[in-house]
Each structure stands twice: as C-alpha cells, then as structure tokens.
C-alpha cells in the first residue's frame, strides 16, 4: 500500500456561521499530485490553507506526514513548500533580497541561482518586486516555495496570470519535482493544468467534493459524444443508426445528429456502418471522449439546478 503523505478526513471549515468546507476527505500518496478543482468560492483555498496549517479545522482531521499541521506547524513546515494564492511580498525588496530573506527562513535552502535559473528570473534579480509583472511574481513565489527542496508542495493556483509559455515552463518545474518524489497538492482553475499534471483529482462545488478519483475515473462520469450533420435527403425519424447511446432529439430536429454514449468505440462503429449503408457523408463529424471540461460544467450545471430547485421550494 502507498504511504499517505496527506490525509484529510471529514474536514469541515467555517467562517463564523458560514460553512466554507463540508465533509471533505482525500488522501495523497508520496510522489503524487492531487488537484483540487472548482468554481470560485468552492472551498479549494480554505481546504488548502487548512491542510497547510494556516487555520484549524472546525471538525475532522488533517495529517501531513503523520502530523497535525496546525498544532505541529513548525515541525510540518520544515518539510513543506507553500505557494499562496496571492504573493504577499515586500514590494521594496529586490528579487534577490526576497530570496535571501526566505533562505533565512528555512532550514535547508538551495542556492539563489538555482531557483532564479530554473524559473528564468536571473536577469530580474536586482529589480524591486513591485516592478515585476504578475507572472514574474508568480514565478518568484514558486522559487520561494521550492527553495527548501520540500517533500510536500502546496500550490494554490500557481499559473494564474501566467502567459502560455510561462505556464508550460511552470508545469515542467512541477513535473521535475514530481520526478524527484515531491508530493504536490494543487488548486487550479485551469482544467488543462489538472489534465496534464494530476495523478488524481477532486472537483469541489459549494464546499463539498462533488467527484474525485483518477482522471479516467472522473472522466467516466460523463458520456462521450458523436455528432455530425444529418445527411441531406435522409429522413432521420425512420433511419436512425442503431447505437447504444442516447440521441438528442431536439438537435436532431434541428438537423444535427448528437449521440451521447458510454461506449464510444461501439457506437462509432455503428455510425460508420450506418453511414456506409446509406452512403451518407458525415459532414462536420466529431467524436470525442468526455473532457474534464465536460465533467466540470456538468457538475456546475447540476449544482445550479439543485440550487434553483431549492430556491423554488424556499420561495
């Protein structure tokens, strides 16, 4: 069995009467990247900061390397790197001075140049932090988080504000760290980021984990899709392909065949067979597995509908 570096059990977090996180549980193994996804206000950052030890849980338990990160903060922090959602730098210090300050704050700092080179900030070393762009500040933040070669790395929206090139460079750094055995807890708005980096993930909605598991397990929740324009002259009502998936009749009436299926390969073969039999060209043909985007939007939509229903009851 894999060692659990992070263990979160039935976590509840509150701000006064407002319960920001409800019954959240997950474990993260050594060398694994676990991503927390969700809409704004879903509870990702509150969960992250509770696991980091910034706040105590209202109830439930959190263990980092077997220790309570809130009560044993100093012992836990020795092994952790934290990249906050917002930087919190002293704007009048230079990049170099900020790194030097941080080197004094941790017990096993790596060299200044290592971080600067790795995240391409070497030429900005003497620039004051307040003069850096938003993306450069995020990179400086990542340098500080990784300066102590942490066993556990907390990344709260690490690539927000970065251009695509810098985002990819950041992903490379994260992959290198994973290769070195670092355990990572990541929150992100970018589904692509989670698809690229995460071994396992959870999607949070309204303070709860709506779905979690490996990428495949999460994607399995949503059906794959096949779509194409209904061939001209074909009466779709009497000549439907024999597929196991569900055909969207509203779209069919509008001239577009849209099939949602759990078995993409089988239904794709059926569509091809049908197309050959009727010698019907498949214009604007598309077939794809569900993406994290589909799962995410499905959950958000589902959540809104439930909230809408609740509102109706209340009204």
């Amino acid at each position: 069995m894999r060692d659990h570096v992070l263990e979160v059990e039935e976590l509840h977090c509150s701000y006064g009467d407002f319960e920001a996180v409800r019954d959240v549980s997950f474990q993260v193994g050594k060398g694994e990247l676990f991503a927390l996804l969700g809409t704004n206000g879903a509870g990702k950052t509150t969960t992250m900061e509770t696991v980091e030890g910034h706040r105590a849980p209202a109830s439930g338990s959190v263990r980092v390397l077997g220790k309570d990160p809130f009560r044993q903060r100093r012992e836990v922090r020795r092994h952790c790197g934290i990249m906050l959602q917002e930087s919190g730098f002293a704007g009048d210090l230079t990049v170099l001075e900020t790194i030097e300050l941080w080197r004094g704050m941790i017990s096993r700092p790596s060299t200044v140049d290592e971080g600067l080179e790795r995240l391409d900030l070497a030429r900005r070393r003497d620039v004051r932090v307040k003069q850096l762009s938003g993306g450069e500040k995020r990179r400086l933040d990542l340098i500080l988080a990784t300066l102590g070669k942490p066993e556990v790395l907390f990344l709260d929206e690490p690539t927000t504000g970065l251009d695509p090139e810098s985002r990819k460079a950041t992903w490379e750094v994260i992959r290198e760290l994973l290769g070195e055995g670092t355990t990572v807890l990541l929150t992100t708005h970018y589904l692509e980021e989670a698809e690229n980096l995460a071994h396992r993930l959870a999607i949070m909605h309204a303070g709860e984990i709506a779905v979690s598991g490996s990428l495949e397990e999460v994607l399995d929740r949503e059906r794959a899709e096949i779509s194409f324009d209904v061939p001209f002259g074909l009466d779709p009502a009497n000549n439907l392909p024999t597929v196991g998936g569900e055909i969207d009749l509203d779209r069919l009436a509008a001239g577009r065949m849209h099939i949602r299926t759990r078995d993409l390969q089988r239904d794709l073969a059926a569509v091809m067979q049908w197309s050959s039999a009727y010698e019907a060209p498949l214009r604007r043909f598309r077939a794809h597995h569900a993406s994290l985007d589909d799962v995410f939007h499905g959950l958000v939509k589902q959540g809104s509908e439930i909230a809408g229903d609740d509102n109706k009851v209340v009204a």
Binding site: F18, A20, L84, G91, D92, L93, R103, G104, M105
Partner: protein
C-alpha cells in the same frame, strides 16, 4: 542572533532605509526635541523641572514611533499578506512578530537614547540613576509595541490603524501631562496606575539627586510593576485578537 530573526530584521531595516522621508524624520525629530529640551531646560537643574519635559518627549516617542508605527506597520503588513507569507516558513509566530517589529523597537530605543544622550551632554541633566532610565526606555518601548499589536488586532485595515491608535496614544501622552501637574506634591493612585504617570515617576527618580542608587531602584519598583501590567494587558489583548491575514468573511 537567531538566523530567522536576523533575516527578517535585515529585510525590515532595508525597507525602512529605502523610505528616505521616514529615515530623515526619524533622525531629525529626536534631535529637534533634544535641542528644545536643552534650550528650555538650561535653568531647570532640579529633577522635577527636568523630568517633566523629558518624560513628555519620551512619551511622545513611545507613542508615535513605538505605538502608532507598530500598529500601522502590523496592519499594513497583514493587508499585504506579508505576515501570512512569513508564516509559511519554519519560524514561530513570536519570532515573526518580533522580527517585523524589531526595527520599530530599535528606532524607538535609538530615538529615546539620542534625546537622553544629547540632553545629558549639552544640557544640565545628567541622570543619577542611568539603570533606571534604561529600564524606563525598555519598558516604555515594549509597552508601546505590545499595545500596537493589540490595536492592530482590533483594526480591520491599515487605513483605520492610525485612527484606532489615537485613543491609547492620547491616554499615554495625556496621563503624562496629567501627572506632571501633581508630580511636585505627589501623584494620586489613578495617576500612578496610568502609563504616563508611571513613566514620569520613574524619570523623576532617575534624575533625583537626593536618593541613593539602590533606594531609587526600590522606589521605582511600583511604577515598573504598573508598566509591566500594561505590557501584560497588551499581550493578552494581542493574543486574543491579533490576526495574521485580512478578514475574509
């Protein structure tokens, strides 16, 4: 010096030194005050005559440099998430706080020392009990920064910190002014229990030419006790209300 504390202290000093206006004001203000004391106090060699203006200047420095600056600085650092950032490291809360406040403490002590040294050399006031005077400086500075920590705890933003600091600043300075009216005849219990009265009592003892060194220290114990209680109140309120990051909800 603890490495963590040293790192924060160095960073804070750099930040302070980069604000030229603050650096100049921090040096000129005590020099001007000392000059005023020397000029006006030449004919007041008597302990009480000298202690009153000296106390008021010390209280002004404790209040402005020590108290208002620490309350504002902690609130601004919290708003900027700088305190939260420092808390991401391995340092304990006490070390982070002391590190951030250390330049305020150093500047307050340096300003007070500057006033006392200039007046000691250029004026007619040489303390008969410098140890007691040093204890006043330490106790007053610690009182100012712990009160600053407590005030920043009950302040929602750095903009409000200056206003929120006014009442205690006025208590600090006002109690010294109030005590100065009766210092010649003896302070009442309320005057003795307020920080300004306690500081005045101690400064008077430090310049008193009639008592013995040990006797002055013994006589100063009640006033030192009063300052210690004020420090304790600041620590308790600070521990209860101090926040490391802006209120989210």
């Amino acid at each position: 010096m603890n490495t963590v504390l040293g790192s924060i202290f160095r960073a804070e000093l750099k930040l302070l030194s980069r604000n030229v206006a603050v650096a100049v004001a921090a040096t000129l203000m005590p020099l001007a005050m000392a000059g005023y004391l020397v000029f006006t106090g030449k004919n007041s060699p008597h302990a009480i005559g000298w202690a009153v203006p000296t106390t008021l200047i010390l209280l002004l420095l404790f209040g402005m440099t020590g108290y208002i600056t620490s309350a504002g600085s902690l609130s601004a650092r919290r708003d900027d998430l700088y305190l939260k950032r420092l808390r991401c490291g391995e340092a304990s809360d006490a070390v982070v706080l002391f590190g951030v406040l250390s330049p305020v403490i150093a500047v307050t002590l340096a300003q007070c020392a500057l006033v006392l040294v200039v007046t000691g050399f250029a004026g007619s006031a040489v303390p008969t009990n410098p140890v007691l005077l040093v204890l006043v400086l330490i106790a007053g500075t610690v009182l100012a920064v712990t009160a600053g920590m407590a005030t920043s705890g009950v302040t929602t933003s750095s903009e409000q910190a200056q206003t929120a600091a006014m009442p205690f600043f006025l208590v600090l300075l006002g109690s010294g002014v109030w005590a100065s009216f009766d210092i010649a005849t003896g302070l009442s219990t309320p005057q003795r229990l307020l920080p300004g009265g306690a500081v005045l009592d101690l400064v008077r003892l430090s310049y008193d030419t009639t008592g013995t060194f040990v006797g002055q220290l013994a006589d100063g114990l009640p006033a030192l006790g009063v300052l210690a209680v004020w420090v304790l109140i600041g620590v308790v309120v600070g521990k209860r209300y101090f926040r490391w990051e802006p209120r989210a909800h």
